[in-house]
Structures are given as C-alpha cells and as structure tokens.
C-alpha cells in the first residue's frame, strides 16, 4: 500500500529511479550498537525520511548506503545489484552533507561539474550540464560565485546540484537543512522535494526534525536504537503511531496518568479504548494527542478532575494550542483559533477527552526529543 503512495508521486518523473534495499544492517562501534538489524526497501523514485533522536543511527545507515562505512553484516542492494562491498566512488551515489561541503577553491559551476570531470566528460559538456543543474536548483545567475560568496541555503542548493549532476542511482541527504535558519529551511525543503520529484531519483533523507520528515517524505521511518520502529506515510505515522516511542517522538502528546482495566484505560474518570487491547491491567500513562482534547468554558463553579484554568495560548495560525492547568497536571489542547480566542488566560474551563483509541506507555519518562 505504501508503495502505491510513493509511485503516485512519480507520474511526471523524467527518469525512473531504482529500488534500494537495506537488508538487516548491523554496525557496532567499540561497544556502541549504531545499527541493530535495520531493514528498509525503498521503491524506485521514492523519498524516505529517516527520523529519530540523536544517536539512533540515522547517519550510520546513510553512510552504509554511500559506502563511507562498512556494515558488520547485512546487505545494501541498489537496483538489483549488491553493492555491499563496493567503495564509495564505484557506487553512483549523490550526497549532500549537513556541514557545508562545497570545494571552496572552485566556483559554483566548477563544483557542480566536478563529478563529471572525474568521469572524464569533456569540458564543453561539463559546463553545459553544470549550467542545467544550476538552473534546476534556481541558481543560474550564481555560476561564477565561490562558496564564500553564497548564503548557506544557496550553498546547499549548489551541493544538491553537484550531487545530481552525475545522475546517481541514489540521493542521500544527511540533515542538509539543519545549519539553516527556520525560514530558509522550510523553503529549501520544498525545493529539494520539487527537484527530487522532477528528477525521479530514489532518495534517503535523514533528519531529526519531525516537521521536516512529515512534510517532505513519501514514507517516514522512525528510528529508535539502531532499527526502524515504524515505517509508513506521514499521515499514518502521525495519526496512528504504532508504538509509544513513535507517538511521543512525532507530534505533541499529553502524558496522562491512568489505570488500565479490561482493555480500557481510565483517565480521570474518562474511559478510553486502547490501541493495544491486550495490555495488562494496572497503572499506565495514556498518550493523548492535543487534537483529542476538547474544551468548554463555564467551569467557573464546577469542580472535578477535568476542570482547570487556561494558563497560556500559542497561536499556530488556523489552530491554537491552549495549555490548561488541572492542578496536578498541565494538558495541551489544540483548538480552532476562533474558539481559543474566547478563552484568555485565567478562564476556568472543563475539558473532555475524545474516546479515540490511545497508546499507553509504562516508561517513567518521555523519550528525549532531538
């Protein structure tokens, strides 16, 4: 099913990408398990984002595909060919790094033409192809600039053009946007997606920014401790997280203490169905999305476990996120902004929790966010 989602985006692809398979990859560094049996199959032309907290093995996975590191075991198969033992320069991969990596002594077009020079393409063709690639990333007018004469965002676009100029089989991006400020980041993110769709190249995009992953990818693989915990389209990852880790890492989640009893969890008097109905009875933390919390004013006189005071409101545009203090606990609710404006700080409110199936967690603490 996920493959069709990916293929749908490929309608206008100029060139068919190839399938890329990571099979049961293991990698240990002196005592640290960076990858613990990671498997992933990417459909031709698909963009998969690997999302996860710092140190979960995202970069390691990408470097194994590039051939910059060797796996202890497992295979990398690109377009049906096993490339596991091949050196990087035989693999036909395009890479964009987190840190700026343009060759500082070469101009933008010389950078883009570098891979063609390695392939002994003649000078005239190099120049022409570099020009086309710079046009693709919207930098035609910057061909003769050096890296130090370009902004961070422009440098990363040149790096993208450089990676694509050799028409690689796979495009690998390791947090290419994390050195940029927020506005440029969002714009360049969309730009990368546009170019990727236009070229139709199979792409692995590593990031610890969930918004970025959800916005750009055909499928998102949420990584945890060296393996993929859940792989699926962004909407599924967000609205139907398979594990507590995914629920808490992606999107905002209220952690509400409750008690599991008979396939349901009782949270402050509200009974919510469970995603994992076979969970053992006993105390647990219910993971409730802010969207599942509704708010009604008029709690002035009432009392009870679900009555509290609005303490802050964050406007996000069409929706707003309201923090409500329930005395022993603060709950986030996501409301249409029109409703939220009627609830200034200090307003007494009564909340309700929509009875969607929830995940429960029995960990003490929430996983650390990147």
């Amino acid at each position: 099913m996920t493959t069709t989602v990916a293929a749908a985006g490929l309608g206008t692809a100029a060139r068919a990408g190839v399938e890329v398979r990571l099979e049961n990859l293991q990698r240990r560094y002196a005592g640290v398990t960076a990858l613990d049996g990671l498997s992933l199959t990417m459909a031709p032309g698909e963009l998969v984002a690997l999302l996860g907290p710092s140190g979960c093995g995202k970069t390691t996975a990408l470097r194994l595909v590039a051939g910059l590191e060797q796996a202890d075991s497992g295979r990398v198969v690109v377009g049906g060919e096993d490339v596991t033992g091949q050196p990087t320069n035989k693999r036909d991969v395009g890479m964009v790094f987190q840190a700026y990596s343009l060759f500082p002594h070469l101009t933008a077009w010389q950078n883009v033409a570098f891979g063609l020079q390695m392939r002994k393409v003649d000078a005239r063709q190099r120049r022409q192809r570099a020009g086309e690639m710079l046009e693709l990333v919207g930098l035609s007018g910057f061909a003769d600039r050096f890296a130090h004469q370009l902004s961070g965002g422009q440098q990363q676009r040149v790096a993208l053009a450089r990676a694509l100029a050799i028409q690689p089989k796979v495009l690998l991006l390791d947090e290419p946007l994390s050195a940029l400020d927020a506005k440029v980041r969002a714009r360049l993110r969309d730009e990368i997606r546009r170019v990727q769709l236009e070229v139709g190249i199979t792409t692995l995009f590593v990031t610890h920014d969930q918004e970025e992953a959800l916005a750009i990818a055909d499928r998102v693989g949420v990584m945890h401790s060296g393996r993929i915990e859940q792989l699926g389209p962004p909407t599924t990852i967000y609205s139907r997280p398979a594990t507590p880790f995914v629920a808490e890492f992606v999107g905002l989640t209220n952690r509400l203490p409750g008690v599991v009893r008979g396939g349901e969890v009782d949270v402050r008097g509200t009974r919510l169905p469970l995603v994992q109905p076979d969970a053992a009875d006993g105390p647990a933390i219910a993971l409730v999305r802010p969207e599942a919390v509704t708010v009604a004013s008029g709690g002035e006189t009432a009392a009870g476990p679900l009555v509290g005071t609005v303490i802050a409101t964050a406007f996000l545009g069409a929706t707003s996120r309201v923090s409500i203090d329930l005395g022993d606990l603060t709950v986030l609710a996501q409301l249409p902004t029109s409703e939220a404006t009627a609830l200034p700080a200090g307003t007494r409110v009564r909340i309700a929790i929509r009875p969607d199936p929830v995940l429960i967690s029995r960990d003490e603490a929430a996983p650390e966010r990147a």
Binding site: A66, L68, P87, T88, N89, F97, A99, P104, F114, G115
Partner: protein, 299 residues
C-alpha cells in the same frame, strides 16, 4: 549596504551622544604600538637614511660598495641556506603536521607535538649551537662515538661550522615553526571534502590533485616563505656557530659594526641591512597575500 558605505548617512541616522568619544580600546594597544615605533619603524628609518648617507650629504656610495665579491657571496650564501633550510623544514614539518592533523584530536601525538613545537620554534642562539657542537661537533660525543667505529662525519672538513652546518642547525627550529604555521591549514581541511570527492567518483589521487593539493598549496608556499624569512634574518645561532669570516649577511653586518681591526663601516652595514629589509619585505608581502587566500578557504 548603502549606509555602511557612506559615513554621512550613518552619522545622520544615529546622532552622537555627547561629542566625540575617545576610542578607549586603543589604549591597550598603545604600549605595543610605541614599542613597534621605537624598535621597528625607527631603526628601519635609520637604516634607510644611513644607507643613503655619504661623508657629505646624500650619496649612493654605500649601495655601490655592496658590489664587492665577498658581500655578494654573503648575500648568495644567505639566500642559499635560507632557501635550503626553508624547503627542508617545510617538507619535514608538513609531514609531521599531517601526521598530527590526521591523528586523534585529543591524542598524545598532538599534545606533545604542539607544545614541543611551540618551544622549539623559538629555540636558537648559543644554546642551540652548543647542543649541536656538544653532540656532533669535532669533539662532540656522537662524533667521537662514530669515529671509534670508523665513521668520520668530518672526513671532508668540519662542515658543522660552515654553511651545510647552518642548514642542519636551522632545520631544528624550522620544522617546529612549519608545524605551528601549517597545522591550522591542515585542520581547516574538512573530511566532507574527501567524502564528497569519493561520492562524485574520485579516488585518492583525484582528491589530492584537485581538492587538497590546490587548497593547501598557498598555505604551504606561504609557510615556506615565512621559514625563509625566519632563516634569512637569524643571527645569533649563526654567530655562535661560525666565528670567522663574513659567510652570511647578518654576520657581515655585525662585523662592520663591531670590527676592532679598523674595518668599521656603519654606512656599509646599513646598506647591507637595507638589502635584507627589502628582501624580507618582499617575502613577507607574498606571505601575507597567500595567507589571505588560505584563510578564506580553510576557516
């Protein structure tokens, strides 16, 4: 942009509070600037004036007097040993710096080499000359030890107190200086450049030929020039090692200033000094030029 390029606009937009302010941050630099003025600019001026002064008013006689065989020889020797010790020091120092740069950034090698170079680059003069005389001088213990085993390092004369000896001894501080000057450039080389080269289909040869080589060349050349200037103007070490003749320019200058045999000639000494100033100035200008390029590339 416009405001920055036009002082009028700047002042108009931001009125001064309470008149012109004394630039306080200059006070800290003042002692140093006075020092430089007294002991660099003033002596240079004296040298220039002295070089062009004759017995009665300005004259070119000192300059034309430079055209004597033994003085031209001194210049030639100075250039020769400076070049030789700079090239040897640059190559050996660059290799050592490369070993340090590619090693563990917190490893023993780096710590030891960095601190040792900081000290040894300043090592020179009588102490250094003595160290060599005591080990491989004509009665140095290594020399004697080798001699007992039938190896005579001075079979063709005691070269330690001649020009080849100077090159050897100078190399002792040239290598550490090279490490100090060249290491920052090597540290500026990013690992991503190599990885990018590989992902673009290049190998080790391509990396050195098209990326690391061109990037490091200006820094290497610049550092070599600095080493040249360093050796060219060194005096104390040579003076301690060589006790007679006018083998190199700094010693010749000293002889013309302090000679007790009636060959005192301050005017000629100043002309010689002027020659050195000109050469060092040219070399340092080239160094600065190359350094500027490097600093833009290898931050």
């Amino acid at each position: 942009m416009i405001a920055a390029g036009n002082p009028d606009v700047k002042t108009a937009r931001r009125p001064r509070e309470g008149g012109r302010r004394f630039p306080l941050h200059w006070i800290g630099a003042l002692p140093f600037l006075i020092y430089v003025a007294l002991f660099l600019l003033l002596p240079t001026a004296i040298v220039v004036v002295g070089a062009f002064a004759g017995k009665a008013g300005p004259s070119l006689s000192n300059i034309t007097d430079l055209n004597q065989g033994f003085l031209l020889n001194a210049f030639f020797s100075s250039l020769l040993i400076s070049t030789a010790s700079a090239v040897v020091g640059a190559v050996a120092g660059a290799l050592l710096a490369y070993a340090v740069a590619t090693g563990n950034p917190r490893g023993v090698l780096r710590r030891v080499v960095s601190s040792a170079c900081g000290v040894l680059a300043q090592f020179g003069g009588v102490t250094l000359a003595f160290a060599f005389i005591a080990t491989i001088g004509s009665v140095g213990f290594i020399r004697l030890w080798l001699q007992e085993r039938g190896i005579d390092i001075f079979a063709n004369g005691v070269w330690l107190t001649e020009l080849p000896g100077l090159v050897l001894v100078y190399t002792y501080f040239q290598i550490p200086l090279m490490v100090l000057v060249f290491l920052p450039a090597l540290d500026g080389i990013r690992p991503q450049w190599r990885e990018a080269t590989e992902s673009l289909g290049g190998g080790t040869w391509h990396y050195w030929r098209y990326v690391a080589g061109p990037l490091l060349a200006p820094a290497f050349l610049g550092a070599t020039l600095l080493l040249f200037a360093n050796a060219f103007s060194a005096y104390a070490t040579a003076a301690a090692l060589i006790s007679q003749g006018n083998p190199i320019v700094p010693i010749a200058i000293s002889n013309f200033l302090t000679s007790e045999t009636g060959r005192n000639n301050p005017g000629l000494a100043q002309a010689l000094a002027l020659g050195m100033v000109v050469i060092v100035a040219i070399v340092m200008a080239l160094y600065a030029l190359l350094q500027r390029r490097t600093s833009r590339w290898l931050r």
